[in-house]
Each structure stands twice: as C-alpha cells, then as structure tokens.
Amino acid sequence: MSVPDTTLTPLVAQERRLPGVRWMRNKTLMAGSALLLLIVLAVLLAPVLAPHDPNQQNLFDVLAPPTAAHPLGTDDLGRDVWARLLYGGRIDLAIGVSAVIAPFILGSALGLLAGYLGGWVDAVIMRVLEVVVAFPFYVLIIAVVFALGAGVGSIFIAITAVGWVSYCRIVRGEVLVAKRLGYVEAARAAGLSTPRILVRHLTPNVLTQALIYAMSDIVLTILAVVTLGFLGLGVQPPTAEWGAMLQSGYQYLATDPILGTVPGVAVVITGLSLSLIGDGLAAEFGKT
C-alpha cells in the first residue's frame, strides 16, 4: 500500500500569504516606491503645489532669486522655476515610462522567439541586433530624431528602434536556459503547441529580468529625453521640460546656479527611486 504524503511541509502555510505582504518587508523596494510615489504625486498635483503658469513670462522679473512667491526663483524669461519643474516633470516621466513600453514589448517578443525557436529566426534577429548595438546609443537616437524632425513623436520612434535590443538579449538569454527546464520539456512532450508554451510557460518566468531592467531603462530614457531637450531636439519650447530647462539654465551657472542644477537634481532623484525599485524587485524575484 503506497504511503500517501498527507502532511505538506510547513512551508505551505507561509506561502499562503499574499505576495504583497512579503513585498512590504523589502526595504529597498519600499523606499524606492515611496520616493517614486512622492515624485509622481508632486507632478500630478502641480496645479496645487505651483500656482503659477509655467509658461507665463514676466520680463520684469527675470532670474530672480528664491522668494515666497517663487520658491525656486525665476528663469531667464521670468517664468516660475518651481512650476516649470513640476510641469516639466510630467512630460519627462510620462515619456520616460511610455517610451519604455514599446521597446519592452518588441524586444521581449523578439527575444522569446529567437531563444525558443533558434535556427534561422535566431540568426536573423541576432544579426539585426548586432548592427544596432554596434552604434553608440546616443548617436543612433540623435540621428533618428534629427532625420525625423524634432518632437515627441520622433523621440518615441527613436527610442523604440534603438531600445529593444537590451530586452531582446535579456529575454533570449533567459529563454535559452528556461527551455531546457523540466516543465518546459514536459509541456513539449505532452504535445502542447508552441504558442501555448511561449505564452503560458515561458513568458511569465522569463520576463522578470526584463522587468527589472525596465526600471533602469526608464531612467535611461528620461536621460535621453532630457539630453535631446538640452540639444534642442526634443520637446519643443515653450513647453516646460527638464532638458529644455537645463539648456536655458546652464549659461547662468556662475550667477544663478539654481536654474541649471535643479532639473539635474530632479533627474537624479527620479533615477534613484527607480534604481531602488529595480534592486528591490531583483531581490524579490531572486527568491524562487
């Protein structure tokens, strides 16, 4: 008579708790999330926190030092820096996050196919990838934006065309490992179709690394947007945007440092929060 295994190991009781509870114990993740939440709330509540119109020029009050009315002073056209920071943040964050979505999806899908199918599919995708990777990131981005004409739309296209490669490589690597694991082979042996295996079994297990990378990619994307803005190739004036602020502010660094540094600090803090989230996720996903 076979012995039934009627007592599940004590671990089962622990696992029943929702994953959310476990995530709350992760200090890095919590710190990063809190910081990001703060930033997002700040930019969303811009109308409340910064009553001035960010585009309102006041040529009688240019480059003013911080006062009660203008907590960070005014810029070279008399506009309120604090308002421009918050409203500009909306643009940078929005583009940063949304511009990552397309490369994430495209790159992960291609990585999945290349890794699982192998053969000529893999060969073709990898060759294209190698060509893209051969160029320095910014050179390509700037070239594409320049060719398409400055503007938000071009930024999206440029970042997607260049940014997919990292996701592709990451996911492909994960798939190469995962496809040898027992449960994937069991699915194959059971006659499950390739699309089903890819979607049901591989994707949820290989995307974790790509997701973690996406966090730092958002930072890189924001940097790219800011850089393009600084070069005058990104979001066009008079729209408030951190890169444009840096552009107008760096000339006055000696006399009015606030203008040129504050946008940079904002980028750093945002980047820090996303890094912490990425690290926290890495730690969470690391525990199987």
């Binding site: 012995v3 295994d5 007592t7 190991t9 004590p10 622990q14």
Partner: protein, 335 residues
C-alpha cells in the same frame, strides 16, 4: 578509552539562519574517531550530517554558528580556535574531499598547479619542490600520464579524474584526518568503485583517519569501521558498522535499511518509512516518534540519549534488542 580519539566531538549544536531568526539544525552531536580509523555519518537530507562536517572546520555557510559543544582535534578545540589557526589546519592536518569535484576546482587554473598550491600552503619549500611533490601525489592517486595531466585544466578531465585531483589536494598537507562529504555521489558506479578503492588504499598506506558523510549505506558499510546514524540533527545510533547494519536497534535505522534497494535481493520491494521526514531539530522528545511503530508517551516527553553497553549505542526509549531481519554480517574484506 585506551587512546584518546584523534577527533572528539562532544555535544555539538549548530544553528543556521532562517526566515525568523536562527534555527537549530544540529543538536548535541557527539562522535569519536580514533587515529587511523574510519567513521561514516549517514542520514538523509535535513539530518544535519553535512552541517556537522562543516562545523568541524568552521566552514558553515554565512550566518551559521556552533552554539554549543566542543570539537577536539588532537586535544585542541577547533570551535574556539581563531581563523588563522583554522586555516593552518584546513588542508594541512585535516584534508577535505567535497561532493562535487567540478565545483571544488578552479576552472581557470591547471590542475597540477592547484595541487602544488595545496602542497605549498602547508610546507616550507619553494615552488619547484612543491611542483615535484604535486606530481608524486598525482602518481599516488593514479592519475594517468602525470606530466601531461599536470598541465590540463579541470574541464579537460573526467569526473573521476577530477575527484582524484581533489583527493591529491586533500592529502597534500599530510593530513591525519580526511573529511569526505559525499565524495562519490556525483560519480558513476564504476568510477565510484575506483575512487573508494583509492581512498581505502590511501588510508591504509598513509594511516589517515576518515570521516565519511554519505546517504549511501552500502558505501559507508564498506568503507567505514564505525558508523553514526543521524536524524533531525541528532545521532540516534552509533557503533561498529558491521554491528549497526546487521543488527540495528533504532527503528529509523531499520527503516533506512529496508528502504535501500539492494542489488542482491532482486524483486524485493524497498519499503518506505511511514510519515514525512522531520524538518529541523525537534526541541523535546524523540524526533522520530511520529513515524515510529513503537512510540509511546515518554518518547514525546523526554529526549532519548545515546546509551547501551559496549560500542553499539542507540538513542531510543525502547530500542530493539534482537537482530532485526536485516542484512547478514559480512567479513571485513580487503580495504
């Protein structure tokens, strides 16, 4: 006791970090290993046998700590020795053979150099002397074509050859004690046979004591003079291997013997031990009680201690008195 044991472990307890603070994994283990003899420690996963071996040399994973007891090697308590002293002992007077030879060797260093490095660390000599000694050791462990093999990298060798390299490194410091943690588990059976022969031969020639940790009862039965059976962090039975395996007195040992499939008994289905293996140390009472056919109330109330006349001891409130229908005693063969 006539001569003091070379290795005398007394009341060793070890705790490892867990999700909620430290968890005891070894509880009050006492073992004795006289000079030149061999002791096998058997048990399943979670029994604490590997942790015990690692604790001897202070090689516990990060966060692990010996919380009680003494580990006396030639009179000196290693648990209280500093890291520097331990480093002298490791690879020197005490050699270690690990389970996975691939993981134990540096993949980017030639094997000859690795052995020479082991020699060099424990002898005051120059490199050319160390290298010559390394080649001698390679001959001793019967590696083929020593001059050529000296210059190979681990991945160019087979599993059995890699394990020989590991053994050569282990004996490089002229140890008096060899610790072996499942040294043949990762090897094919014919290779395991060769490696066990080699270890046996080296032991006899170099008069080295051996502490062998394994889950394979037959390997321990052949290679060891004495055996200690561990369950849930405690030693529940110990004594001469022949006696323990032919006339086990603890119900867990009986169960273990019945569960191991034997080549010599075709068609005999291995029988399982009811219940699930204990996870970690049970604070009070016998850890095996939930699964034991002879369990009674005192089994749950009081922790049984090792006891019995003579060398064969058992930690049980109602140990078996007569020989259980297990294996016949065998004459100690050539080893």
């Amino acid at each position: 006791m006539s001569t003091p044991a070379l290795l005398h472990i007394e009341g060793l307890s070890v705790a490892m970090p867990g999700p909620r603070g430290r968890v005891p994994v070894v509880d009050g283990v006492s073992l004795d290993l006289p000079e030149g003899r061999s002791l096998g420690v058997v048990g399943e996963s979670g029994s604490g046998k590997t942790t015990t071996l690692r604790a001897i040399l202070g090689l516990l994973p990060p966060g692990g700590r010996a919380t009680a007891g003494r580990v006396e090697f030639d009179g000196e308590d290693l648990l209280r020795a500093g890291e520097r002293r331990l480093r002298q002992v490791r690879g020197g007077q005490i050699g270690v053979i690990w389970q996975d030879p691939q993981a134990a060797l540096d993949p980017v260093m030639r094997v000859g150099d690795q052995i020479a490095e082991a020699v060099h660390a424990h002898a005051l000599s120059n490199w050319s002397v160390s290298r010559r000694r390394a080649k001698e050791l390679m001959r001793l462990v019967e590696l083929p074509d020593v001059d050529r093999t000296f210059r190979t990298f681990p991945h160019q060798l087979s599993g059995g050859q890699r394990q020989r390299v590991v053994i050569a490194s282990a004996i490089a410091g002229n140890p008096r004690l060899l610790l072996a943690d499942e040294p043949t588990t990762a090897l094919d059976v014919t290779v395991q046979d060769q490696v066990l022969s080699l270890i046996g031969r080296l032991r006899a020639d170099l008069h080295v004591a051996l502490l062998l940790v394994s889950h394979d009862l037959a390997v321990v039965g052949e290679a060891c003079d004495d055996v200690a059976v561990m369950y849930a962090g405690r030693v529940i039975e110990r004594g001469p291997a022949a006696s323990v395996f032919s006339a086990p007195r603890h119900y867990y040992t009986v169960g273990l013997l019945a569960a191991a499939p034997q080549v010599d008994r075709p068609g005999v289905r291995p029988s399982s031990i009811p219940g699930t293996p204990a996870v970690g140390v049970v604070r009070r009472g016998c850890a095996f009680a939930p699964r034991c056919p002879a369990a009674s109330e005192d089994c749950v109330a009081a922790t049984p201690q090792l006891g019995g006349e003579g060398a064969h001891q058992v930690a049980c409130h109602h140990p078996l008195r007569i020989a259980a229908p297990a294996v016949r005693t065998r004459a100690r063969g050539n080893d």
